[in-house]
Symmetry: C2
Subunit: 154 residues, 2 copies
DNA sequence: ATTGACAGTTCTAAAATAGAACTTTAGGAT
DNA sequence: ATCCTAAAGTTCTATTTTAGAACTGTCAAT
């Protein structure tokens, strides 16, 4: 299966994976949320090759996750900032970070702590149901075909 | 940078990406949450090559996300089921699905709908602060170095 | 004895990635 | 005028990963 085929699948996970489902895209997005915006800053903080960085930035712009904004005129230079579509990736990034915090830390503990500006406390992200507000678990969810489901073959 | 190097980074996102940060691992996990458990079922529902499927399943077992459970004796056969560590990936999977539902659906709408068994309603996942319960946004979060932070070079 | 299911393994060709060097545009120092 | 530096890429070759198909081994059923 080729990468482009993923975008066409009748599956919201597959289509999202087509956008962010590779290692460098996710690491680039991490940097974006940490306020990194410029090519060389991405390159030096990530250690990604310039070739791949250029490729992934182009792809993220194409998908509308990042936007190029000029920050100087001569020579013309741009920085990459998150669009609203990109900002909406925050729950994905945070849930990835949280899983790593729980399951992948070494003896020294968490690399980063997160403070919520609303309540001024260090927090963890919790995923809840939009309707009843209870925390979600896989076992408490039942899946139904939606309007965009693939029609059954037989 | 090599894949193994990711696991050593002082970053919970990078370490998680070392486990699930590739296209097939994420798609395999989707199937796991949809109750797929056996090699040939993964293979036919995903269209992944058998080679890569075997490789990824091995890796997910090695990281403790899946476990092989015998389901028949002659010949010895196993199925792959999510461990607690694997079940804890649910918020990641759901937030990926949700982003796709919002930003990647075509005119036909969502491929799947999710019903919460607690409240019997179709829901969306919402990420909230563990301390105050308010929905989280990137702009409302401030990051601090934690105990496992990389010491500054200079 | 032959066929089929299941769970892989092996093989070659094609694609993606790593790593380093090179290019372009322009400002400032000598 | 010439050289040096900065930023943002682009180009090149070698290595690694992936795709796609065929093959292997174990056992049950016919």
């Amino acid at each position: 299966m080729k990468w482009d085929a993923l975008e066409e699948e009748p599956c919201s996970l597959a289509r999202t994976v087509a956008v962010i489902g590779d290692r460098w895209s996710l690491l680039i997005l991490r940097e974006c949320f940490l306020r990194i915006r410029r090519f060389d800053d991405f390159q030096s903080s990530l250690g990604v090759t310039r070739h791949l960085l250029a490729d992934r930035l182009k792809k993220l712009v194409r998908f509308g996750v990042l936007r190029k904004i000029p920050y100087q005129d001569a020579p013309k230079r741009y920085e990459y900032i998150l669009t609203q579509k990109g900002l909406d990736l925050y729950p994905i990034i945070m849930s990835i970070v949280h899983w790593g915090n729980i399951h992948m830390v070494d003896s020294r503990g968490r690399p980063l702590l997160h403070e919520h500006k609303n309540c001024h406390k260090m927090f963890d992200p919790v995923m809840v149901c939009s309707e009843c507000g209870e925390p979600l678990t896989a076992k408490a969810v039942h899946v139904h075909p939606g309007p965009g489901a693939r029609r059954t073959i037989a």
